[in-house]
């Protein structure tokens, strides 16, 4: 998935190396909206080493209006407590970007995330961790084991260490695999547009 879609900032358009180099640049008074977007997309998920929230498709929108930045963030499941830390990380990175930025608000938008939002690079990063991405409408049985790249995954227990993931067993290579739940609303449906301000 490399294209943009309405309301979605395509993380695939960001070159990670280039953005990392930029992160070391001196802070300036100017607020460059594109740069702020990139900074937000590159915030790493606190539980998934090496995978950014942009690549997970959690960033719905980044709005830069003068000195204020507003980010819409979709957690991968209802009640995810990691969003608190992610919000702090976003705030820290954005405010540290330029002294001209006076405020950063992160809105938590529930019930809008699905694995459709995970980019190709996000999928590759998750695979590195042994986590397979099941797309909406797909199934574990069709998925390939992230370790031996063969089919043959069997579900083992409803949810894993976090509620956005299920546990599976690879019958081929006998490794424990996890799978991203296709939808954030799998467990409980809640109205969209429920905002929590930090």
């Amino acid at each position: 998935m490399t294209g943009t879609r309405p309301g979605y900032v395509a993380a695939d358009l960001v070159d990670a190396d280039e953005a990392d180099a930029d992160a070391d640049a001196d802070a300036t008074d100017e607020v460059d909206a594109d740069e702020i977007r990139r900074v937000v997309l590159l915030v790493e998920d606190p539980e998934l080493a090496g995978v950014s929230i942009g690549d997970l498709g959690m960033v719905l929108d980044v709005r830069v209006a003068g000195p204020r930045v507003e980010v819409d963030l979709a957690p991968t499941f209802l009640g995810c407590v990691a969003v608190g830390l992610i919000s702090l990380d976003i705030e820290g990175r954005v405010l540290g970007r330029s002294p001209a930025i006076r405020g950063c608000t992160v809105n938590i938008v529930h019930s809008t995330w699905s694995t459709d939002r995970v980019t190709a690079r996000g999928e590759a990063g998750l695979k590195e961790l042994g986590i397979v991405v099941v797309r909406p409408g797909g199934s574990l049985e069709q998925a390939l084991c992230p370790y031996c790249h063969r089919p043959g995954l069997t579900a083992r227990g409803g949810t894993g260490p976090t509620r956005c993931r299920t546990v599976a067993w690879c019958n081929g290579c006998r490794n424990v695999v996890e799978a991203m739940q296709p939808k954030s609303s799998n467990h409980l449906a809640v109205p969209t547009g429920h905002y929590v301000h930090i």
Binding site: G79, V81, T159, V176
Partner: protein, 299 residues
Amino acid sequence: MRTWIDMASFEEFLNGGGIVEPGDDMPQVYREEVFRFIEMHANSELFGGLCERHWVTRAPGLNRKLAFLAKTQDEIGHAHLLYMVAADLGVKTRTQMIDDLMDGRSKFHNVFHYKTQTWADQIVIAFLVDAAALTTQQAVLKQCSYGPYRRILRRIVAEEGFHMRHGEEMLLTLADGTGIQRDLFQDALNRWWEAVMHFFGPPTKDGDLLIRWRIKSDTNEALRDRFVQKFVPMLHDYGFTIPDPELRQDAAGHWHLGDIDWKALKATQANVGPDSAARIALSRAAWVNTTWVREALTA
């Protein structure tokens, strides 16, 4: 499936950086050592989850309650992954592991043999014990010779790092708080420091099989020292006192602990620590009370 003609060729394979896979014809003694190590880790995650669950309803504020709920899910989830890898080794079934744990025949980490008396005790566990666990797990992850364990550790370590950040944030709240809050943490630190030092285990003996077979890569002493160098200055910075009168810093800035009394650790290893019986009974109750759920799921 790979086979080795004798222990010498297997060890040569390990020394060359080889990774053992489940289908390999590994020596039975290696299989049992890996199993024992993973079973202990799984048991400790399960007890960690049960310990944190106690605080879900007691933690101050909704956010803390939510965090403890998620951490409980994490720990029980980690236990689930670990029991799968352990059971696959074929030394014990999952049921045997659970039975042994609940009948007091298995080991679990020393820190879960003590009662948490105050909220600050739980913060010591959430920050210092999680940090200690992270230190040991990172060292295993670095070059563990058993493939499936190393693979799930990658995910577990990332999540433990997240827990530690959460624990640190709770600690900072107390450190930044009133005199009463700071005293609460200092009291907890006084109660728990020895147990945290014990967490790394007694000095590793020469010829230790876990190290020889690269199941873990650092001695208990080295891991404890790594922890001390990082967390002693940090706790000092926050204005707390380490309850070790012999603790000293040498000219090079290196911290040295006083002699450690291992008596309390030995009691926990024999499941006769201060709160061992109650903890084991609690885990049994949790298991028995949820039998109907497991039966319903498999019906």
